[in-house]
Amino acid sequence: MGTPRCGRCGSRLVSRDPKSISRVWAWWALGVMAYIPANVWPMLNTRTLFTVQESTIIGGAVELLLDGNVGISIIILVASVGIPIAKFVCIAFLAMSVRGGSRTSPELRMRLYEIVEYIGRWSMIDVFVVAILASLVQLNVVANIDPGSASLAFALSVIFTMLSAQAFDPRMIWDGIEAEARTHA
């Protein structure tokens, strides 16, 4: 027979997947690993008439800040540094919290999970910006922008982290309270 499937939509039916947490950690580790080169390698190579410039994610944001574009620089910093790091911390926390009894309430952890799931995709902004700039700024000698290798590492990091969040089964957050209620009863 194989795995039971939903008669309506054909999706795999499983009450609690014991491998769920392992998959969360596997994708999580890949995401963290890809995030390191994403910050070290150059994101953009800008060539103007007399200068060649390689900028990393943080370097690019700092440059924008110094140019006076505070708003945009904050968007980039939040999307490319703040969100990914917050995501790593939150997913690790959630995965650890379902193991043993967590003192944080399920309501709060559920909220956290929803935020992580919703916000993760917004990190892709920087990859899109690189793609747009690289396709647009091809003015021969005057100005030329080419994508750097960090764009690949960064895109992979975002994708891996999204997969990690999706591998997490939020129902596990609530299993704890039922077990707790049973012991108290």
């Binding site: 008669g7 309506r8 939509c9 054909g10 999706s11 103007t48 690019g60 924008l64 140019d67 574009n69 945009i72 968007i75 980039i76 399920p106 309501e107 559920m110 929803e114 799931e117 993760g120 995709r121 917004w122 892709m124 902004i125 920087d126 990859v127 899109f128 910006v129 690189v130 793609a131 747009i132 700039l133 690289a134 396709s135 647009l136 700024v137 091809q138 003015l139 021969n140 005057v142 100005a143 922008i145 994508p147 290798s149 764009s151 690949l152 895109a155 992979l156 994708i159 999204m162 999706q166 939020p170 129902r171 957050i173 609530w174």
Partner: protein, 212 residues
Amino acid sequence: MPDGTILIAGTTLDGLIACPECDALYRAAEVPPGQRAACARCHTVLISPRRHAGMAIIALALTAVVLVIGALWFPFLRIEARGLWQEATLWNVATSFVGGPLVVVSLAVTVAIVVLPLLRAMLTLYTLVPIVFDRPPRPLAGRAFRLAEAMRPWSMAEIFAIGCAVSLVKIADLAQVTLGAAFWMFAGLVVVTVAQDQLVDRWSVWRSISPN
């Protein structure tokens, strides 16, 4: 026993609804249009019927298809510097990472901003058009709708629109930048996608795909 009805301990599963996020089980109530039923435990919206939502969703999905296809061919940004100019269409963006492993990024960008929004709109049409026009649902409607739902986080048109705005500022001092027609199409796509997600009531859709 009618086909598709499951019996557990003598009760049918008809009329029961499990919260997809936290697994709490409820007896589904008849929710009047315009109101929402949410999970008492984790506040996930479970049922949210709207009057005439089907027709509106079809109209929005069609609009999304037109906008994505249109945006492919029009330039969305144009730059000018020292007499040289360059325009970029989505096609240029998709093929901007040429050579080497960066092609993967190109592929990911294309899938996220063109392929998935388009596919999602078409799957929604495939699922909903027969239902709204009172025809029997298509044979693969269930799978199509599940796929469309699974694609939701990966379809990133709205993020791309913000990316356009950021790029605009980034190169403002390098060259003179103007927004093209495709940018406004993408801005429209964002509105359409958000409106569509607000209107879709999963409970009603699933119930109409398979009544039992």
